[in-house]
Symmetry: C2
């Protein structure tokens, strides 16, 4: 692998300004993986990259183009002539192409699409219509397929013809003349089968597929559960419309995890952080902050209601941050473990009571420990032993409530088909704060009465 910022960069510059650019570039990048070429070219100007792509030609140049993200692709794309633009669109892998075209402006689309071969144009138009987040939005139509009634020998010849422009030829789907999915064979199956046998006799008939409208996360999980290299995607009439390949699954997993993590941090929807301006970032975060401050403002009312107590025992207010902080942290821990457990299937809905009971027990253990620490601190700051007792009792209650709610609320959300990740640290903390303050002052009222 070539590291970013490798010294070969001036070499590329030199070749690009030489008289025999095309041959020079071809030689420089010979037998290199597109990802390595990408790493080397990443910091060049868009026009220079376009030049490299032209020099590398089909397929190496197209593969290089596919390595860039959509925004960069757009910039590089605009350095090409109309004819080259059409070439690129015709040669790109079908799923990458659909993603790319989706992000072009309607004017740009209208300008280029007529230049693209008809069959490819129809494919683009079909793919960009699938709804974001569905299997349709990540599928590719360049899969390998076979009819059922040919021999293994004929099949190998047919596969050879398809080998150059298919995303994978290791899984081959068997379809009838209506494109109905009948079965699948792996290239491994074909390779070891007697050459006179018919495909329909060696194919797996019990084929696992997903519907084009299924959630892409579900499709990714299915593919990974079955350890497949690709999964066929069918429409409502069981007709094959495309495949989702394993390399897309890793991307889906990373993307979905980012969404989950943003929810853990109450940070709103994911936006392209490096490109967004501060005002947009602020606007996107303000919603949850406002929601939390409104719930949290109840705490101010509770404290105001206890003005008399706060005036007589001012030391009570010394410990509110400590108490609420500990509850918040314990609740964050427990909701983190439960939300992640639900997401990866470690915790299933039938374990509900077991989990809540466990978190309650954890809360009592941890709460007692924290209560000891807090009481010692309270006795040190204030000679009155009643204060240490009040803080300790409130701490046990507070931490136990926090761990219990940290388990209960995400499970409750899941039960009602809401996203459990919404009940993460900040929300649990906010709710626990309010309840804890009420209990703290109730205990104090009794003790100091």
């Amino acid at each position: 692998m070539i590291k970013r910022g490798s010294i070969i960069n001036p070499e590329i510059q030199a070749v690009l300004s030489s008289s025999n650019r095309k041959e020079g570039i071809k030689k420089l990048f010979a037998d290199m993986h597109p990802y390595d070429i990408f790493v080397l070219c990443e910091d060049l100007d868009n026009t220079q990259i376009a030049e490299c792509i032209r020099a590398l030609g089909v397929p190496a140049g197209i593969e290089l183009f596919e390595q860039f993200d959509d925004d960069r692709r757009k910039e590089i794309f605009s350095c090409f002539s109309g004819e080259w633009m059409a070439d690129i669109l015709e040669e790109m892998s079908h799923d990458e192409r659909a993603d790319f075209v989706k992000n072009l402006s309607p004017e740009k689309m209208e300008e280029i699409l007529p230049l693209v071969a008809r069959a490819e144009r129809i494919d683009i138009k079909k793919l960009i219509e699938y709804k974001e987040g569905t299997a349709g939005s990540i599928l590719t139509t360049d899969y390998a397929s076979l009819p059922p009634n040919i021999s293994v020998k004929e099949a190998i010849e047919k596969i050879k013809l398809q080998a150059f422009n298919r995303e994978t030829i290791y899984y081959i789907y068997v379809i009838d003349s209506d494109r109905k999915l009948l079965g699948f064979v792996s290239l491994r199956d074909i390779l070891v089968a007697p050459s006179q046998k018919l495909i329909e006799d060696i194919m797996h008939k019990n084929v696992i597929s997903a519907n084009v409208n299924d959630d892409k996360e579900e499709v990714a999980n299915k593919l990974s559960d079955y350890n497949f290299l690709a999964i066929p995607i069918v429409d409502n009439d069981e007709r094959l419309v495309g495949i989702v390949t394993v390399d897309d699954v890793v991307d889906v997993v990373i993307e979905e995890t980012t969404e989950d993590i943003y929810k853990y941090g109450a940070a709103g929807e994911y936006i392209d952080y490096m490109k967004a301006n501060p005002f947009n970032v602020a606007r996107q975060r303000a919603f949850w902050l406002l929601f939390l401050i409104i719930v949290g403002s109840v705490s101010a009312f509770i404290l105001q209601k206890n003005t008399y107590l706060l005036e007589t025992v001012v030391a009570l207010s010394f410990f509110t941050p400590l108490l609420l902080g500990a509850g918040g942290n314990a609740g964050t821990q427990s909701s983190t473990v439960v939300i992640r457990g639900l997401a990866v299937g470690e915790i299933e809905m039938e374990d509900v009571f077991k989990v809540i009971k466990k978190e309650m027990s954890v809360g009592i253990c941890v709460g007692t420990f924290m209560a000891l620490v807090a009481s010692v601190m309270a006795s040190w700051l204030d000679k009155d032993p009643r204060l240490g007792f009040t803080v300790g009792m409130a701490m046990i209650f507070n931490v136990t409530l926090a761990t219990s709610l940290g388990a209960f609320l995400p499970i409750l959300f899941k039960k009602f088909k809401l996203d459990p990740a919404l009940m993460s640290g900040p929300f649990i903390t906010c709710i626990v704060d309010v309840v804890s303050l009420i209990v703290y002052f109730k205990i104090a009222t009794i003790i100091f009465a």
Copy 2:
């Protein structure tokens, strides 16, 4: 796909208690994917599962066995005779086998290993010695390989022979007699090449590999960057020792994400939650809680130092939970975005100043907005306009500090090669709490003087 709890379960029970069990089971599960059989068998007794595995034989039974997690495998394994145990170990895929054997007790290992064929025994012993977390710990030795100096035609014959017991035959590694890695060919390359050509003439010489001691997360990222189905793993002398396949990458990504998420929630190291008892869970979480309560206890001292102020303006204490809550939430948001950005490479170390500047701007925007909300609330609870002003000013400072530290501390940690995820919500909150209280009372001292 078959859903969990499918009605076919009683059918399995019926077949298992019939006189012709073996044939019955074979017929019931004919042409089914091992994952589907696993879903159907999951809730059976261990002895019944062992029976299914025996009936299905090699390879279907072994593939079924591999679907269970290590703990369940151990239970099922103990239902077999010694001979069957040896058969299972000989037939399992090599990486799964190493993982499984690693978790057996030393006595059990000593009991079974002598029954296993010598070559397989050596393989097991070699694989279980690789350090946890390295490429070695997830590699498999059942890869397909070829010598360089044979023709494509001969190669196809050799691959056919390897097809039955290799993890993948789609990537084939070319090695010399010393096992030195010379190149690789895909089955696709072989299929389309003229049959008289030599492998060394069609192989890719610029082969991307990883070292056996590399971090497994790095290897997973590399494989996914290059969109490979497998990546060869070499020792320090560039000799091929095994491959890591793409299906393991998804597992690695999910596992590493769980570790990260636990850090976000200050929930300590990952432990098997459903199996751990509450006391162990509590012990594992108590460390960070204790750490946070100790840092947090400084807040009690700050409040005590301001006793006079709290006695004269008791309303000041009404707003501490609200103020600290808002700071904590804003800091959690910002650290969430920055930590995740660093993890997926969206934020790079050269963007440091840009990110900190952005978070500071976000803090000023959001802080001003929150200050308005809080001031209105303060004026409503207490007629004195000085209170609203104090709370508002403190809020702007507090939120800006929180978002700035939420960006700065994870980046600082990364700079010093510490895990940025350690500077997540709970820690940022804890630090911001202390500083904010100092500032709040400083402002109050000036305003109410």
